[in-house]
Structure formats: structure tokens, C-alpha cells
């Protein structure tokens, strides 16, 4: 292809690292969750690139499953945040520290 | 001319035709049709001052939109407030890229299919656009810094998401019989067999009801009803931004009618007629737009006839009635197609 696969891989890796930075630096639990979603989607991109390089359609199936699992995880995660907000009135991860010594 | 350049030129020409018909001819006259139709049903004249029979009412409306003062409330997120109508308008206009509005026209020896983009994933493109359109509604409600707008926007967003499911499943049943996800394949199937509204009547009803809910038209327009939530998510909008909301509702209506015609009413075809050559292609375009216009008239007719649903009745209908019906429809259709075996 006229765009080499290395370019797609670089783009996917850069997106993954940006998501990782977001997950490590943000204090709002929702922002951390969003960064994790970005990491999962960057991995989807990498899967698709590798699948195209090998000519293997299984990569599409795996990406399909990753998306479905991300949807399930988002639903349950947000329900947990809602329950957490109801009991602690905050959603910043620094303040949710009842179990600390 | 190389095939790529020819394709590009043909695509630009098709886009020009669709936009010319839709934006220039249809949208302004739709406003007039709606209000005269309302007058007809309610036994009163309707607009009849601006031009003969009130035909230039649309021009007057557009002028009003441009010349009114644009009021932006305080303490809003200005970027979101400005961008929300645009997010709502773009999906309504770009849905037309995959709808076949005619058979095909021979130009310079090559056959030009009258679809702007005949992608493999036709219906999924439309569903993706509908999903993105939800953001316009929800953001308009949020960015207005107004409790009623927020409630209207959230209700409207939840309504659209709920009915999107039934609409998608009902539409998928037509693609299962056609064997491909392209709308042009569905039209081809209907040309060779019968129009889809007959064998898939249940799916047809589900799709039409869901289309009413998707476009926020009566009887599902609670989020923008005046007696309920002031004007819902477009309370705090005036002048040109309100004009964009207005235009996007009508554009959505045209797009939904075009989808209904394509999937269930035979698209650009007539029962015993074959369209060949240049004049056949042009005639098929006329047939398509005539059918779309007929469905739009039904939309307008229903609006001024039926009362509106309460919000809980609306959600009840979407989740407990339409979704099981559309799933059952899909199961039956898939079973029949599987029994017939591979073609």
C-alpha cells in the first residue's frame, strides 16, 4: 500500500501512549475511564493494521469482540460511578480513600 | 478520461443534483406545504399573503431567520452552543450519500449509477450518522444553561437512541432478504420481486413508527412541545441557529422519507416498468422524488391529526412493543431465507 503499515502502527502507538498519559495524570474518575477507552480503541487500530498486513480477517472478529466487551465494561463502570457518587458525593479518585491506612 | 477522474466528476454532479433538489427545491417548499396542509386539515386558509397562494412564505421565513437578533444566554459554553445545531444538521444532509435516487444513466458510453456512494456497508453508514446526530440534541440541551432545555435535550436523546434500535433491526430484515448491505441491492431485489412493504408489513410499520420518533415529529415530539418544556432543547436559540434546527428537522424528515421509500416502497421503481437509457434514468429520478414527496405528505398529515404521546408512553412503546416486534420480524425473515437455502 502507498501508506506503509509502519505509519498506521506509529499512529496507533501514539494514541495508546496519549491514553496512558491521560489515565495516569487525570484525577477525575470519568476522565481516567475515557483515557482507558482511548487505549482500547488504539489497540483496535493496531489489531486492524496487523490483520491487514497478514491478510487475516480474524483481526476484524477480535476487534468486534473488543468493542462489545468495552461496551459492557462502560455500562458497568458508569453504574459503579453513579453508585459511588451517590455515597461519596465526589468522583475524584484522590478523595475516595476510605480504605487507606 | 481515466475511470477515477470520471467517477469523481460523476459524484460531484450527483451531489449537485441531490442538493439542488433537496435544499433549493424541497426544503423551502416543505415549510409552505406543512403550513398550508395544517390549514387544510384545520379548516383554515394557512399562509396566503406572501406571493400567490402564499408560496413565498419560505423566503419570508428565511429572511426572518437571518435578520433576527442572535441572542446567546449568559454563562453558556459558547463553543458548544454554536456547534450543536451544526452537529444536528450534518447527519441529516449526508444520509443522502447512500440512497439510490434513480436507476442509472448512460453518459459518454459509461453507465453512471444514480447513487452518490455505493459503499458495501450502506445501512450501517446511515445508522452511524443517526448515532452522531444524538450529540446535537444532547449538547443543545446542555449548552443552553437552562433546566427545561437540559431535560428536553436528554429526553430527546434517550428517545432517539431507543427508537434507533428498532429502526435498525427492521431495516436489517430487508437487507437479509436482499443479501447485501447496500440500499441499491434492496431496490434491485424489490424490482425483481415485490415491494418490501407487502412481505415485511410488520417491519414496515415498525420502521415508519420509529422514523417518526427519530425525527422528533408528532406523535413523538414531546421534547419540543410548547406546553411541556417550553421549546425543549431549542428554547435558548434564536435567529440563524434556530433556523438551522428548523432546517435540520425538515432535512431529517426528507431523509427518513427517502429511506422508507428505498427500503419498503420500491425506491425508484414502478411495478411493471423497466427504466432504460437516458430518459428511463431521468424518469426513475422523478418517480423516486414523487414517492418521497408522498411519504412526506403522510408525515405532515399525521402531525396535524394525532395527539402526542406522554414521555413514559413513548419509551414504553419503543422498548416493550417495537423492539420485540422488530426482533421477531428479523427472526422470521432470517428463518425463511435460511430455509430457502443459498441462492
Amino acid at each position: 500500500m502507498s501508506v506503509s503499515p509502519a505509519a498506521f502502527l506509529a499512529a496507533g502507538t501514539v494514541l495508546f501512549v496519549i491514553g496512558l498519559v491521560g489515565a495516569l495524570l487525570k484525577r477525575n474518575a470519568l476522565s481516567i475511564f475515557l483515557s482507558i477507552e482511548l487505549m482500547m480503541n488504539a489497540v483496535n487500530l493496531l489489531f486492524l493494521t496487523y490483520g491487514r498486513m497478514r491478510g487475516d480477517p480474524s483481526s476484524h472478529v477480535i476487534v468486534f469482540f473488543v468493542i462489545a466487551i468495552a461496551a459492557a465494561e462502560a455500562a458497568v463502570g458508569l453504574a459503579v460511578f453513579v453508585a459511588l457518587f451517590r455515597s461519596r458525593q465526589t468522583i475524584e479518585v484522590d478523595r475516595i480513600n476510605l480504605l487507606k491506612w | 478520461m481515466s475511470p477515477a477522474a470520471f467517477f469523481l466528476l460523476a459524484a460531484v454532479a450527483k451531489i449537485a443534483v441531490v442538493w439542488a433538489v433537496m435544499l433549493a427545491a424541497l426544503l423551502p417548499n416543505l415549510v409552505w406545504m406543512e403550513r398550508r396542509g395544517a390549514g387544510l386539515i384545520q379548516d383554515r386558509p394557512g399562509p396566503n399573503r406572501v406571493g400567490p397562494l402564499g408560496l413565498f412564505q419560505a423566503v419570508a421565513d428565511v429572511l426572518k431567520m437571518f435578520l433576527k437578533e442572535d441572542v446567546t444566554p449568559l454563562y453558556v459554553d459558547k463553543l458548544l452552543h454554536t456547534v450543536a445545531p451544526a452537529i444536528l444538521l450534518v447527519p441529516a444532509l449526508t444520509t443522502f450519500a447512500v440512497i439510490p435516487f434513480g436507476s442509472s444513466i448512460p453518459v459518454f458510453g459509461r453507465e453512471v449509477k444514480l447513487v452518490i456512494a455505493d459503499v458495501n456497508i450502506g445501512i450501517l453508514y446511515v445508522l452511524a450518522l443517526t448515532s452522531v446526530g444524538v450529540y446535537g440534541l444532547v449538547l443543545a440541551g446542555w449548552a443552553s444553561n437552562n433546566k427545561y432545555s437540559l431535560l428536553g435535550g436528554l429526553r430527546s436523546g434517550a428517545q432517539v437512541i431507543s427508537y434507533e434500535l428498532s429502526m435498525g433491526l427492521a431495516a436489517i430484515a430487508t437487507f437479509v432478504t436482499a443479501g447485501s448491505l447496500k440500499p441499491s441491492a434492496v431496490v434491485e431485489w424489490q424490482v425483481q420481486t415485490v415491494w418490501n412493504c407487502i412481505p415485511q408489513a410488520v417491519g414496515f410499520v415498525v420502521f415508519v413508527v420509529a422514523a417518526f420518533a427519530e425525527t422528533n415529529r408528532v406523535p413523538f415530539d414531546l421534547p419540543e412541545a410548547e406546553a411541556e418544556l417550553v421549546a425543549g432543547y431549542h428554547t435558548e436559540y434564536s435567529a440563524f441557529k434556530f433556523g438551522m434546527f428548523f432546517m435540520s428537522e425538515y432535512a431529517n424528515m426528507i431523509a427518513a422519507s427517502a429511506m422508507i421509500v428505498t427500503l419498503y416502497l420500491g425506491g425508484w421503481s414502478l411495478p411493471f416498468v423497466t427504466f432504460t437509457g437516458l430518459w428511463g434514468g431521468l424518469l426513475s429520478i422523478a418517480v423516486f422524488w414523487a414517492k418521497t414527496l408522498a411519504v412526506i405528505c403522510v408525515f405532515i398529515w399525521v402531525r396535524w391529526t394525532l395527539p402526542r404521546f406522554r414521555y413514559d408512553q413513548l419509551m414504553n412503546l419503543g422498548w416493550k412493543v417495537l423492539l420485540p416486534l422488530s426482533v421477531a420480524n428479523l427472526l422470521v425473515v432470517a428463518w425463511i431465507v435460511a430455509m430457502k437455502g443459498p441462492a
Binding site: L20, N28, A68, A71, A72, D94 | S131
Partner: protein, 172 residues
């Protein structure tokens, strides 16, 4: 500058710029919207990788359902305020940033070295092949990956029930 390269640059640039915007934005609503644009960029890249079905699924499920769910939660619980207090552990943030960037450099080096494909699939001059991937994916889902398919269906059911139970108000 071929059209493909231009399209790739635009899509990847859009995705990366808005991913950075998502990390930098203070309010959650704007973060979600930046992420939607990022996902749109990833969708375009997926189409370039001959996966239009997956691209549509990303827009419909990720950008059109999951992120709308995020927006609903933010708007209903009014979580849009920026963080009010000062950061209690600034050293940890710096350490996190440095180690993430180091990991990123390592990953980039590894992927770029492995970026030479072992077998070049036969494509015609870089154009996206007109292979209809949807029947292939469908067949694979129902043959080789049938167990995973059914398991994911059960998982989605469990997630829906779990979300309902977790967010119920206590009937005290």
C-alpha cells in the same frame, strides 16, 4: 503526496490532536466531545485499512452509544466541574508522565521495527481491495469464534443486569 497519504495524515492528525485535547481539557463534557472526534479519526483510518464494517461499528457502538452514555451520566449527575483542590501528589504525576513517555518510546521502537510485514498481501498498487469483508467476518463469527460470540452475548446480558442493580436507589 498521493491522496492516500494526504488522507492518512489528515485522519491521524485529527485523531492525535483531539486525543491530546481530551487529556488536556478540564471539563468532562469537552473531553467526551474531543474523544468523539478522535474516534472519528480512527474510523477513517479503519476504512483505509479495508475494514469498513469495523469502522461503522466503531461509530455506532463506541461514538454513538458508549460516549452518549458517558454524556448522560455527566449531565444527570452534574459532574462537569473542574477539580477544585490542588493536586495532593504532584511528584506522582511527573513520575507517571515520564514513565508513560518512556514506555511509549519503547513501544514505538518495537512496533516500527516489526512494521515490515512477513508476507506482503497482494493488493493492487495500494488501493483498498474490494473484498467484501462482511460475509467473511460473519462466517468466522459463527464457525471458529462461536463460543466467544455466545460468551460475549452472556457478558452483555450480565453487564446490563449488573448496571441496573448497581445504580438502583436503595429502598430504605
Amino acid at each position: 503526496m498521493t491522496p492516500e497519504l494526504l488522507l492518512f495524515a489528515l485522519a491521524a492528525g485529527l485523531a492525535i490532536v483531539f486525543a491530546l485535547a481530551m487529556v488536556v481539557e478540564k471539563t468532562p463534557v469537552r473531553s467526551v466531545l474531543s474523544l468523539v472526534v478522535t474516534f472519528f479519526g480512527i474510523t477513517v483510518l479503519a476504512v483505509m485499512l479495508a475494514a469498513p464494517f469495523i469502522a461503522a461499528i466503531i461509530m455506532i457502538v463506541y461514538a454513538g452509544a458508549i460516549l452518549v452514555l458517558f454524556l448522560f451520566v455527566i449531565m444527570l449527575l452534574n459532574l462537569n466541574e473542574e477539580a477544585r483542590e490542588k493536586d495532593s501528589r504532584p511528584v506522582q504525576r511527573v513520575l507517571g508522565l515520564v514513565s508513560a513517555l518512556a514506555l511509549g518510546g519503547l513501544l514505538l521502537g518495537l512496533t516500527l521495527r516489526a512494521g515490515k510485514p512477513p508476507v506482503e498481501p497482494s493488493t493492487a498498487g495500494g488501493r483498498i481491495p474490494a473484498v467484501d469483508e462482511i460475509p467473511l467476518v460473519g462466517r468466522l463469527l459463527f464457525s471458529d469464534y462461536l463460543f466467544a460470540f455466545e460468551a460475549v452475548a452472556v457478558l452483555l446480558l450480565a453487564a446490563a443486569v449488573g448496571a441496573l442493580i448497581l445504580s438502583r436507589r436503595r429502598m430504605d
